[in-house]
Every structure is written in structure tokens, then in C-alpha cells.
């Protein structure tokens, strides 16, 4: 119980304190402390879950198991890294007079609220709360996407809120249908929305109603995760939001949405069986990867390029979940972590490049290696990492997923998977090598980020490298616990 209050309470306390103070230094300390404390509590939660398998709050409203502990670590860790990077990023923005004091305050306040809403989703046992948290994540990030108040950022924020709200409304209908199918089955109807009580009676739930419910839920949370064809808000929002926010959305929010999908996936797979949910996952996963291909090959803007890469990687994870063997689950969960680290690294590096060149358009950015050598190196190595080159972690997880695909007999999807990844690799390397190598078109005045931020990014790259070489036994145990939850 104390863990639940710690994980939920810390970001709340952070938000309240942020609302009260307006000094830059204080805001920075509050945010870093609250996200750091949450990160630490996440480790504590993981340790606790390893001993006790599941944790319940007394009335069953909050719940944690191996899966939620693992994802909470990823999400709170991303939030911590982003909070650290935001300090330097915003100081540079203030120095360039792009951000003023009230906006700085709003930024830190919303960052704390955003972290809280993500924790709300990840810790709710009640599916209604899960929904409330998901919609709240959209609302908390709305003003962060519109942060710079350019025409294009307001447009992006509008699309983001409207599309995600529509999607999530459909998901609510799916949740209501789930509730409906459980009303006659779950003994105490107050618990009929609790995931843990639903799991106990999954076999008795009405399969036909649950199938329909799952379609609505897949559309709804798929919109939040950015699965094609509901991904259209993603390039706009990621492209327009400040770089740290894009990073946190790509590494945190996406995983929160995927977590919600996984919860329903486990439930529906157990109740319906027959590969209904997994087939849908494979189709949507491949579709997301396929849709990303042309947009990555014909892209002008490097933040949007990364957004489409996010669409692709969500597709990869959903595809792996759809394969549905323990090996595939392992690959999917490992990929979740790898992708989160790589996305933070790339979005933040892209933020550095953008700030140095003052443009997100790729053909205006050339010869970065001469202008900002550190960030340029991080960028090109990060791109090799995200496109699945050894010896980085993503290679390991993608390789695991493909081999799980072949061994489970999904030959054609697995071949498509390899095809998409290869094409995307070509596009990525083509664009980034032009950005990094060669000579700058014109003299660039901008400078690189401060050394603390660069060190942070270097550490992220090191983590990716480490995950590609060996997986620590604790992490392996943690993922294995989550795989056990996914197996139902």
C-alpha cells in the first residue's frame, strides 16, 4: 500500500509544489526529485513484485504485477531522464528568449501531472480508472504539444487532442461492453471492472461480446499508442512538441498505451482464445510497420522521421505480442525497453541539432559532424541502434522477435517484418548520413548542448550498447516475470 501511495503520491506532490513555486531553480529541483523518487520507488516495486508476484491495495483499486512493475520502471526512468535533460534544454531556450517564466512554470507543472497520469494508468486495477488515466495523459500533454504556440503547433495539438479523445471514447465503449459481459459473472458487481477479478472468471465471460469489446479497445488504445491507421496525430504532435516532451511521449506514453492494450489482450486471449486477439495484433502490427515505410523514405523533417519510426516500433511490439509465444513476449518486452532508450536518445539529440541549426528540415542540416561533433556522433550511432544494427540492444530484441515468428510458423509475416525493417534502415541511413557528413551549407552559429546533457545522452547510448551485449540477470528475471503475466 505504501508503494502505491509513493508511486502515485510523489508526482502529485511534485505537481502541487510546482503549482506553488515559480522560481526556475526550485521548479527544476522539484521535478527532478519527484521523477527521481518515482524511479526509485519503481525499483522497490519491482523488488517487491519479485517476492510476492502480485500486489493489491485493500479494496483492490490498485494492483501491480511483473508486467506493470517492468513498464513502470521504463516509464518513470524515461521521465527522470527527460526531467534531467529539460533543465539544460529550457535554460538554453530561455537564453534564446523562446520561453518566458510563466511558460517555464507551465512546462514543469504539466510534466509532473503527465507523470502522475501515466502512473495512474499503470497502477489501476479498475479498467474505468485505466480509461480515466489514459484520457488524462492526452489532456496533460495537450498544452505541452502546443508549447511554442506557433500556428503549426496549435494545429498539431488540436489534432492530437481530438483524434486521441475520439479513439479513447471508442475504447470506453469497449470497456463498458467488457463490464456488461462480466456483470452476471463476477460475484460482487463493484469488482466487475477490476482486471484481477475479471481474470479469475475470464473463461465464463461471453466471448462474442468480448470480441466486439476488444475491437473497440484496440482502436481506442491503438490510437493512443499510434498504431496505423490511427497514427495520424503522431508525426504532428511529436514534430511540434519540445524535444524532451516528444521523447517522453515516444518512450513513456506509447508504452503506457501498449500496457493498456496488453492488459486487455491477456484478458481477451484467455476468455476468447482461438488466436482472435493475436491475429488482430499481427495485422495491426504489420500495417503500422508498412505504413511507416513510405513516410520514412520520403521525409523532409527529422522529428517527423522519428515519429514515423515510433509508429514502426509500436508496430513491431504489437506484432511480437501477436506472435504469442513466450520467446516473442520476451522479445516484445525487451524491445519496449530498447525502443524507449533509443527514442529518448534520438529525440533529445534531434533537439540539440535543431537548436544548433534552427531548423527541422533535413536538407538544411548538413555537415553536423563539423558543427556539433558530439551530438552528430550520438545521432548517427543512435540511428544505427534504432534501425537494428548489432551490437545494440534493438538488434537483439528484433532478432528474438523474428526468430519467434519463424519458429511459431508465421513465415510470411516474419518475412514481411524483415522487409519493412530493411527498407526503413535504408531510408534512415540515407537521411542521417547526409545530415551528419559533408560540409555545412552556410555558417552555423549555434552551439551544442551543455556537457551534462551530452553526458546523459552518452549514458543512454551506453545502456543500449550494454543491452546488445548482455542482459543483466535482474533485468532478465524482471522481464521473465512480465512474460509470465502475459502468458495469462
Amino acid at each position: 500500500m505504501i508503494l502505491f501511495s509513493l508511486l502515485l503520491g510523489t508526482p502529485i506532490a511534485g505537481s502541487i509544489l510546482c503549482a506553488l513555486f515559480h522560481k526556475r531553480r526550485v521548479l527544476e529541483i522539484i521535478t527532478v526529485t519527484s521523477s527521481g523518487l518515482t524511479f526509485l520507488s519503481a525499483f522497490w516495486l519491482a523488488a517487491k513484485v519479485m517476492q510476492e508476484t502480485t500486489l493489491h491495495s485493500p479494496q483492490g483499486w490498485w494492483y501491480a504485477d511483473g508486467l506493470s512493475a517492468y513498464i513502470i520502471i521504463i516509464v518513470s526512468g524515461s521521465a527522470f531522464v527527460v526531467a534531467l535533460y529539460s533543465i539544460g534544454y529550457l535554460r538554453r531556450q530561455i537564453y534564446k528568449r523562446k520561453v518566458d517564466a510563466p511558460k517555464l512554470w507551465l512546462y514543469y507543472l504539466l510534466l509532473n501531472i503527465f507523470l502522475f497520469t501515466m502512473m495512474l494508468v499503470l497502477l489501476s486495477n479498475n479498467l474505468g480508472f485505466l480509461w480515466i488515466g489514459s484520457e488524462a495523459t492526452t489532456l496533460a500533454t495537450a498544452f505541452l504539444v502546443a508549447f511554442y504556440e506557433r500556428e503549426s503547433s496549435i494545429e498539431a495539438a488540436w489534432k492530437y487532442v481530438v483524434i486521441c479523445s475520439v479513439g479513447i471514447t471508442l475504447a470506453l465503449f469497449g470497456i463498458i461492453l467488457t463490464y456488461f459481459s462480466a456483470l452476471h459473472v463476477v460475484p460482487a458487481s463493484g469488482n466487475a471492472l477490476h482486471w484481477s477479478s475479471l481474470m479469475l472468471v475470464a473463461k465464463e465471460l461471453d466471448p462474442a461480446v468480448l470480441k466486439l469489446a476488444f475491437i473497440f479497445i484496440l482502436i481506442g488504445f491503438g490510437t493512443k499508442a499510434g498504431l496505423a491507421p490511427m497514427h495520424t496525430w503522431k508525426p504532428d504532435a511529436y514534430g511540434e512538441a519540445p524535444a524532451p516532451i516528444s521523447a517522453l511521449m515516444a518512450a513513456g506514453l506509447v508504452n503506457v498505451a501498449l500496457y493498456s492494450l496488453m492488459r486487455f489482450y491477456i484478458l481477451v486471449d484467455k476468455a476468447v482464445g482461438g488466436g482472435f486477439a493475436s491475429t488482430l495484433f499481427i495485422i495491426f502490427g504489420l500495417m503500422s510497420m508498412g505504413v511507416a515505410v513510405p513516410f520514412i523514405l520520403l521525409q523532409r523533417d527529422f522529428k517527423r522521421l522519428l515519429a514515423y519510426s515510433s509508429v514502426e516500433h509500436v508496430g513491431i511490439i504489437v506484432f511480437a505480442l501477436g506472435i504469442g509465444t513466450p520467446l516473442a513476449y520476451f522479445g516484445a518486452l525487451l524491445h519496449l525497453l530498447n525502443n524507449a532508450i533509443a527514442k529518448i536518445l534520438l529525440f533529445l539529440t534531434a533537439g540539440n541539432v535543431r537548436m544548433a541549426y534552427g531548423s527541422r528540415i533535413m536538407h538544411k542540416v548538413t555537415g553536423a559532424i563539423k558543427v556539433i561533433p558530439a551530438s552528430a556522433t550520438l545521432l548517427i550511432v543512435g540511428v544505427f541502434a534504432i534501425t537494428g544494427w548489432p551490437p545494440f540492444g534493438i538488434f537483439v530484441s528484433e532478432f528474438t522477435i523474428v526468430s519467434a515468428g519463424f519458429t511459431s510458423g508465421n513465415i510470411v509475416p516474419a518475412i514481411l517484418f524483415i522487409g519493412f525493417i530493411t527498407t526503413i534502415f535504408v531510408g534512415f541511413i540515407y537521411y542521417t548520413s547526409r545530415m551528419v557528413l559533408g560540409e555545412p551549407h552556410r555558417p552555423v552559429k549555434g552551439s551544442d548542448a551543455d556537457s551534462a546533457s551530452l553526458l546523459l545522452l552518452g549514458l543512454l547510448l551506453g545502456a543500449l550498447l550494454m543491452l546488445g551485449v548482455f542482459i543483466p540477470s535482474q533485468l532478465q528475471q524482471c522481464i521473465q516475470n512480465a512474460v509470465n503475466v502475459l502468458k495469462g
Binding site: 479498475n126 488524462a136 494545429e155 479523445s165 463490464y179 452476471h184 461480446v209 466486439l212 504532428d236 523533417d301
Partner: protein, 225 residues
């Protein structure tokens, strides 16, 4: 609650449900933003009435607060806020369409039929006994579809908000009809979310108006690929 006969309650629920559906269809047939808002207010009021009747007829007291919230927030507060927004930004009040009214109305009729067949398939597959008001389910699904349709074909920012709210109303009605509403605390949370969402969208309407000098979402076409 034996004061009022149960069949009378059932009849009244049917009438209000029909009225809700009619307001949704009339929104589609309307050309002025003011009408959109008024019809939405009326729709939410009927929805609140249905919720109150469910409380009266079937003793589901936990919906009482949700019913009052529906009337207070969706039928009174949000329409007032939206009307203020219209007055403040003095938008040209005619709505533009990508599908004209006549065709839209025919499509709506098709959507009602479609949602009825969906609703029947949901209800028929249920093993236990369905709640007494579950026949309203088709109306609620139709509202979700019509709300989505409004969002896709009406080009003002405010009409998108109304479309979204119509969808939300449909979802609320569906919860009411097949499960007698979600648990109270969930319902309240949902309300809170919706209210914040509309307020945020309202702020964006102001900003769009300021930077684009129009609130037609046609002008939101800069971001492609």
C-alpha cells in the same frame, strides 16, 4: 420504488431515448453553430432525464450523481461556455460541410439501422438476462456513429467539439442501458476528464482563431506527411 408504475418508467425512457436520437439527427441537419449548441444542451438534458428515470425505476441510486452531473455540466455549463466562445470570437455562424445535409441525413438513417443490428448482436449473445433498458443500446450506438460522422464532415472547430460530446453522450447512454451505469467513482472521473477536454479544446479554439483568423479546420492543413 412502487410510486410510479414500472411500465410508465419504461415508456418515458423510450420517449426520451427517441428524443435524444432526434436531437442527434437534428444536429446533422442544422446549419448554425448556435443550434448545434442548443440541440446538444437539449440532448444532454434528455440524457440526464433518462438517467434519473433509471434511478427512479430500477433503484440504481449510484447513477443519481451522474444524472445530476449530466444535467449540470453537459446541459447547462458546457453549452454556456461554448456559447461564450462563439460570442467572443464572433465567428461567421454558418457551418460548412463536406457532405451536404440531404446526403448526411440519409447516411444517418443508414447508421441507425447499422447500429441496431450491432446492438441486437450484442444483446442476443449475452447469456444472462439483459437489463430492462437494454433496448436503448441501439440508440446509444447510433449516437456514437453520428457523433463521429459530425466530426468527420463538419468543418468548424466547434462542431468537432459537439461531435465529440455527442459521442460521449452515446457512450454514457450505452453504459446506462446495458450495465445501469459504471461505478460512481469511475463515472465522476469520466465527467471530470470530459470537462477538462472541452475546456482545453475551447482554449485551442481561441488560439486557432487568433493565429488563423478563422475556426474552420480546413485551414489546419499545413502539416502533411
Amino acid at each position: 420504488m412502487g410510486i410510479i408504475h414500472l411500465s410508465t418508467i419504461g415508456l418515458l425512457i423510450d420517449i426520451f431515448a427517441a428524443a435524444i436520437l432526434v436531437t442527434a439527427v437534428l444536429i446533422v441537419s442544422s446549419r448554425s453553430l448556435v443550434f448545434y449548441i442548443r440541440l446538444f444542451a437539449l440532448q444532454s438534458f434528455f440524457l440526464g432525464a433518462v438517467a434519473l428515470l433509471v434511478v427512479l425505476g430500477y433503484g440504481e441510486t449510484h447513477i443519481l450523481i451522474a444524472a445530476f452531473l449530466t444535467i449540470a455540466v453537459k446541459a447547462i455549463a458546457l453549452p454556456m461556455v461554448l456559447t461564450r466562445v462563439i460570442e467572443r470570437i464572433q465567428v461567421r455562424k454558418e457551418i460548412e460541410f463536406s457532405i451536404n445535409i440531404t446526403a448526411s441525413l440519409l447516411l444517418c438513417a443508414g447508421m441507425v439501422i447499422l447500429s441496431d443490428s450491432v446492438a441486437q448482436s450484442i444483446l442476443s449473445s449475452q447469456r444472462g438476462e439483459a437489463p430492462a433498458v437494454s433496448r436503448v443500446l441501439s440508440v446509444s450506438i447510433a449516437m456514437m456513429l453520428i457523433g463521429l460522422f459530425i466530426m468527420m464532415t463538419r468543418k468548424k472547430a466547434l462542431t468537432q467539439i459537439i461531435g465529440l460530446l455527442t459521442m460521449e453522450n452515446g457512450v454514457f447512454l450505452s453504459g446506462l442501458s446495458i450495465t445501469y451505469g459504471m461505478p460512481l467513482i469511475v463515472e465522476v472521473g469520466i465527467f471530470f476528464d470530459i470537462m477538462i477536454a472541452v475546456l482545453i479544446l475551447g482554449v485551442f479554439v481561441f488560439r486557432i482563431n487568433k493565429t488563423f483568423e478563422t475556426i474552420s479546420i480546413d485551414s489546419l492543413r499545413n502539416l502533411r506527411h
